[in-house]
Subunit: 429 residues, 2 copies
């Protein structure tokens, strides 16, 4: 299997459902925390599990540079590398190549760019981005697209959209030819646990997933995943599990182009569709408009992924419109800048007013940070540039985002869409 | 009570025992992690508890600057401020004032120095250092001493020792007059739980100690600790709990001066004694010599605290000599530099040789890091300057140190001193 998507409830345009991947189930609509370099900055994987993260996002551009695709592939893919047994989605690298690199050169073949780390020269193409993502082994991977700059004239947006479509064809072709090379499938342990059963890996008994896991300590023979260069290319993932490649709709801020991009991407055919090229500086009203109109052209029975959004209010809003998946660095990055989302509004924890505030960060939040620490302490940690401040801030903001989505899903299941939307203040206590 | 010290077993010079403080019991010999700014860098308090940390150290100099003694005092002291319900020891600030500040001016009164943060001018004296430590409210506090520089001529070491003794008298005098001002004692919750019982605070049912704790959520009346400026000065800590002030032996590298310092510090009289002014650049052989000879002059029935040491081998060695308490930034600071202590030797995780090493950091370690993550991942995190690397490295190194001391205590209890000392490689699996 690659993925299965089941819609379980509807409330207006909103849907709640389940996305079943080779590494576990995801309740949708879902917010995916960003784990750029195979780590959600500062938060250990067991805390992510405790927060209820079911899928996280890795950035192919960054992982390609460090530690490198080959290192991850040889370790059996990102899941094993970072000891994360739940789902992972990788982007194609396209966005960072465009946004982080001023000295890039785009051609029909692909994009030449310089590493932001050391200036070395690299080339990304649809084929290369697929090869990288196959080597990284995420459950869901993205077609290599051109994220159209904003603003863009209509002719420019069209030309960019057309190239994205040609790149989507090339992405899919390469993927179909090489998807069997995903480095998941060569663990003998997997073979034993999966004999005759369709069990997602997350359901395995091996709860201490990783190099020190009980199976290793008991001395069982475990084949190293993808250790042997020559053999992995021909190895079929066990149980037929493969990755899923999603297509990306572009078209700038033009509704007609967006419609055309959607229809022609659907023609190529993908198990899921993303809306890219938004949240690139356009006014929010325009974002909403484009999202709403684009969704009309995307199939209802496939997951719809809006890339790169948003604030807690925005993610609730887009979920209400019918978006199933979202990702954004906002909760994690804002946390590291001391900007914390609470049910009572945003808190900039560095402010002097919190220096002696004994109350919890968010009185309505049940996370480990709000249950234990005071605003005064969090403020001190931030002001003193203490690592723990970054960790605790991030844990809370993630909890806030995940609680927001949990409340949205619940509201959809209850058919209570209007009630939820009218409350601007986030999750109910 | 302030503290009680019970020796439970002896093996040669080594002793294992129990130090009972107002915030819980400590098994000795103990290694105290350093939580400089009210945080053991990067490690949340619940993880410290899980690691088995029973006492941690706070630096008065740093806390005096940030967040400031008054802020902590108003919150009820460090325990409440940082939500740590177990024991805390603070140093007097003397060491940092001497080591961090080149523009310091020492007089009989005290030390004028400039903040390393912003260059502002401050003055520390025995009285001021006591006032600060009382405001911070650690269970064990230290006399304000002069850490004699190394090397020092005998006359200089003598003069420095003599001033430390005069400062010790002043420290004790001020402490005895003001110890009732410790900001612990004004919580009504404490009153309720302690009626008629001598229970250390750590045994309270209120397991989610902190602002979001169940008692607060249930709406019980809880008096704020030390909120009211005018009232806290006269308030008796409940149950008669007070802090304990330890004296510090100086005398440079001269055995005669050390002996004299010890005897004259004992004359002043403290519930515990530290050996200061070592690990300041002298050869290790000399450190051992001075520790061994100084211990001969310290009372057997009081805890002996060797400040600022050491490596895992050293802490085991000093425990073997009869030291009961030690502290050092080494495990935490080395961790942040990727230098990890393992049962197979030191690992510098940034090295390229670990880039594809799937094995756990330490196959003999049961910590959450070694049970879950690979060396390759830890190496990637460090090389990519990821926060999580710092966190995981620190968790492991602390576990290693605490396991080392656990093994030392166990060996002492079994009377197996020679066997343990002869194994250089750290804790047994």
């Amino acid at each position: 299997m690659s993925i299965q998507f089941q819609i379980e409830a509807n409330a207006g345009s909103a849907r709640s459902g389940k996305l079943i991947t080779p590494h576990g189930e995801i309740e949708t609509p879902v917010f995916m925390p960003v784990g750029t370099l195979a780590s959600v900055k500062g938060v250990p994987q067991d805390i992510l599990e405790e927060l209820g993260v079911q899928i996280l996002l890795g950035n192919t551009y960054h992982l390609y540079l460090r530690p490198g695709v080959e290192t991850v592939r040889r370790m059996g893919g990102l899941h094993r590398f970072m000891s994360w047994k739940r789902a992972i989605l990788t982007d194609s690298g396209g966005f960072q190549v465009f946004s982080l690199n001023e000295l890039r050169k785009v051609s029909e073949e692909g994009v030449t760019f310089r590493s932001h780390l050391d200036g070395s020269s690299h080339f990304f193409s649809p084929e290369g981005a697929m090869a990288a993502q196959i080597g990284l082994g995420a459950d869901i991977i993205m077609a290599f697209d051109e994220c159209t700059e904003y603003p863009a004239e209509r002719e420019r947006a069209r030309a960019s959209m057309e190239m994205t479509l040609r790149w989507a064809e090339r992405s899919k072709k390469y993927f179909e030819e090489h998807k069997n090379e995903v480095p998941w499938g060569s663990c003998q342990l997997s073979a034993i646990s999966r004999q005759g059963l369709q069990i997602p890996r997350s359901a395995r008994d091996d709860s201490s997933f990783g190099p020190g896991s009980s199976s290793q300590r008991e001395g069982k023979q475990v084949l190293r995943c993808a250790q042997d260069d020559s053999s992995y290319k021909n190895r079929q993932p066990l149980g037929g599990d493969t990755q899923a490649l999603f297509g990306i709709v572009q078209g700038g801020m033009d509704r007609g182009l967006r419609r055309e991009s959607a229809l022609r991407t659907i023609e190529i055919g993908f198990p899921g569709y993303a809306i890219g090229g938004l949240s690139v500086g356009e006014p929010r009203e325009l974002t909403r408009e484009i999202v709403e109109s684009t969704l009309e052209h995307l199939p209802a029975d496939k997951p719809r992924y809006l890339m790169g959004v948003g604030t807690p209010d925005e993610i609730a809003e887009y979920a209400q419109m019918g978006v199933d998946m979202m990702d954004c660095v906002l909760p994690t990055r804002a946390a590291r800048h001391g900007l914390l989302f609470t049910s009572e509004g945003k808190v900039s924890i560095k402010q002097a007013r919190y220096a002696q505030d004994e109350s919890p960060l968010d009185p309505n939040c049940g996370c480990r940070v709000c249950r234990r620490y005071s605003r005064a302490y969090l403020r001190h940690l931030y002001a003193s540039n203490e690592l723990l401040g970054q960790v605790l801030n991030t844990v809370h903001n993630l909890r806030y985002y995940l609680d927001t989505m949990r409340a949205v899903r619940h509201a959809i299941q209850l058919g209570e869409r209007t009630r939820f939307l009218s409350e601007q203040s986030g999750p109910k206590p």
